[in-house]
């Protein structure tokens, strides 16, 4: 049963290699495999951090032997760094601007630059150049309880969830 899924997964990856990178499919294939393992293994997966990795297969855009020459990933990385720098700078500009029209104009550029930063980040994720790791559910639950407990310190009366 498991072997079948593994074969399917391998097939999927192979097809992707030929077609180039097709967005999120690689990741879904990976998750599909995890799903096939069933609920029994879920706890085991959580203990093994590597199983929690969220990533796409690496695109084959990078040279096999990396040298001093700037490659595609370097280019997007530099572009991303540039956008990050500009969002930081525009943030200060928008805050310090005197009249409303200037403030509004800079705020619009600020939002647009953030949106572009996000696009570049998503692009890098699609190309398999960013790996995320899902935090263990247990840790989330622990912190949720802890901070939920601090609600006794709230200065306003609210409906408890």
């Amino acid at each position: 049963m498991y072997g079948q899924y593994q074969q399917q997964f391998a097939g999927l990856q192979g097809a992707q290699g030929m077609m180039g990178n097709m967005g999120m499919q690689g990741m879904q294939g990976m998750q599909g495999m995890q799903g096939a393992q069933g609920m029994q293994n879920q706890q085991q997966n959580q203990q093994q951090n590597q199983q929690n990795q969220i990533k796409n297969p690496q695109s084959n855009l990078l040279p096999k032997v990396k040298g001093p020459k700037i490659n595609d990933r370097d280019n997007v990385n530099l572009a991303l760094a540039q956008e990050k720098y500009i969002t930081d700078s525009l943030n200060v500009f928008a805050r310090e601007a005197s009249h409303r029209q200037l403030h509004n104009d800079v705020m619009r550029m600020f939002f647009e630059t953030h949106a572009m930063t996000r696009e570049l980040f998503n692009l890098m994720f699609r190309k398999g150049w960013y790996t995320l790791e899902g935090e263990q559910q247990q840790k989330l639950a622990q912190s949720y309880q802890k901070f939920q407990g601090y609600s006794t310190q709230f200065p306003y009366t609210t409906q408890m969830h």
Binding site: L61, D72, N75, E96, S98, H99, Q101, V106, T113, E119
Partner: protein
Amino acid sequence: MYQTNQQQAGQQIMPEPPNVVSTKDFLYLTDALSWELGAMKMMHHAALNCTDPEISTYLHQAGQMHQTHYQQLLTHLNPANAANM
């Protein structure tokens, strides 16, 4: 002393700053123009040096955005623009 007080009393209170480029605005504007110019050139250069057409498209889009922002910032410096007076 009394006179100046009277003058101030006669003046209308401005609810928010008028459309005037302040000294500080001016310095930020010239700074921001440099950021945008540098960014558009950098994006354009990077786009030309990419092998992947998808990446190239995205970088060109980013470059064009910075060029648009440059032009929008420039209107705030234009003396012909009545709002800047």
